[in-house]
Subunit: 303 residues, 2 copies
């Protein structure tokens, strides 16, 4: 059995996940809540070491490859955006400085689009992972989440993309607005109704939201129906605005199970063919693909 020879890192705003690998084979994994959002610049290396300390042989340099918000201006080191249209990974990584000589850290750059202005960090790696698993695939990739992304992929390149605040807005509305008193659980029919309404009349989204509260007060609207409808209205409105992306296309959904399934349901109701793909698996596959871009080293002794 071969020795572990590198570490893959998925470092977002609110999470940190690490894998110890040999080639594409995972040996161990670990995670913490030390996301970019809670770290100052000097905090990144200690947060990483807290998880991988025991994976670093003495007297040897271990390559570390990270993707996500870790490469933002507020991250460990800024990895300049690459402009679309381009391949998801390009041909260079951004180095990040480390005091511990056993670490050789690089970050995958995010992508930017000048008009309409848009950015991504982390999703480019998921797209690369998807393309590694599905060589030659053309179509649209949708990555639902806090900030959902629609990505048009053709001939191995990201042609264009668009970000929606849907997930973050749903969280704010359902947890902090007046609607929170009326929501709880999940009703699939409520979601389907909401998605159809949101899709057909997206311009009425703002008008439909308070109706949920009023029906709860006046008609005793079920909390699960209410929560399903709110989610449906917002995802439906997103689908209406993202129509140029999915119309006449096949859509690959990369996301965590519940939210990706909700998008799949809404898209299937519009007769759009969809496939579902695990977000962690795609991230790891993308980091494995990006590993080819690491500078070649002889893993020298350092003292």
């Amino acid at each position: 059995m071969s020795r572990a020879d590198w570490i893959a890192v998925d470092w977002g705003t609110s999470h940190l996940r690490v894998w110890q690998l040999s080639g594409d084979q995972v040996f161990r994994q670990a995670q913490s809540d030390q996301g970019m959002g809670v770290l100052a610049r000097a905090g990144f290396e200690p947060a990483l070491l807290a998880l991988v300390q025991d994976w670093l042989p003495e007297g040897q340099v271990t390559p570390v490859l990270a993707c996500g918000m870790v490469g933002s201006r507020q991250g460990w080191a800024e990895a300049q955006y690459r402009a679309v249209p381009c391949t998801p990974l390009g041909d260079a990584l951004a180095p990040a400085p480390a005091r511990d000589l056993r670490l050789d850290v690089h970050i995958v750059p995010g992508l930017k689009q000048p008009r309409p202005a848009d950015v991504m960090r982390g999703e480019e790696t998921q797209v690369a992972g998807f393309l590694k698993r599905h060589p030659g695939w053309d179509g649209v990739i949708c990555l639902p989440g806090t900030h959902s992304k629609w990505v048009h992929v053709s001939a191995g390149e990201v042609v264009s993309f668009q970000t929606f605040l849907t997930g973050e807005m749903f969280a704010l509305l359902s947890e902090q607005s007046v609607l929170r008193h009326s929501l709880g659980g999940w009703d699939a029919a409520g979601f389907a109704d909401g998605a159809a309404q949101g899709m057909e009349r997206p311009e009425r989204l703002m008008a439909r939201l308070f109706t949920i509260r009023a029906e709860s007060l006046l008609d005793g609207l079920d909390a699960g129906v209410a929560r399903g409808r709110l989610s449906g209205l917002m995802i439906g409105a997103e689908l209406a605005a993202a129509k140029p992306y999915w119309l006449g296309q096949r859509v690959a959904l990369i996301g965590s199970e519940a939210v990706a399934q909700a998008y799949a349901t809404a898209l299937q109701a519009l007769s759009v063919p969809v496939t579902l793909h695990d977000v962690t698996e795609m991230t790891l596959a993308g980091l494995c693909a990006a590993r080819a871009l690491l500078p070649k080293t002889e893993q020298p002794c350092v003292n």
Copy 2:
């Protein structure tokens, strides 16, 4: 000069305002942050007494008339909604129990609309105040705020109304979402642009929001322009959905200065004739109008 003989109360989710009056003449006023949102049922009377203790002559009953969320199920006493179409005040008030025998408290009921489901508490009093000042007025009243309301008034009755979450959603997005990093100050041209876009393409609201963040990152978008644009996009989308209310109508805006002025600007850009009215003044005028509904008492000695 006549003696003060009643107390008017405006009691919302986050504020409590009281006035001591003789007829329509204000003697004194006071306020606190003891809104419904921070009070349990037993807390209402102490919160009121904390402000009006010194206004209550011993051995005498002082009528107190309140409007707003104080009449909700979570308030001091539930004042059942009245169904539109109806006059804003109706002919009855809801009594609220008080331990202090100097208090005789009544609450103005809110209004409800069965389809589309909607409710209001407090705004009916502002509408009544407006109609007291403008007898015979027909048209549309818009009450911007956390939950803005559009109210169609004809022949002294509220015919229909609709509530929008615009103000609450703007607060959540501008203070707690990822957009908060890109916002600050206020640019009037940014607002006008956003309002025009929101009005013309309300179905693209969800798509436009993240663009603010991306333009800030990529193009150094000015924070005042960004905040004005966000507000404009949201108010513009509300105006698009509220079009059946304002199209071909004159609109009376009742609100606090800054937010009412923003709605006025957006409506005037659509050639809708608007007038501006102070929200506190309309509330007080409405409570004065509602005073005629108080049960007649002889203000008897109580011990």
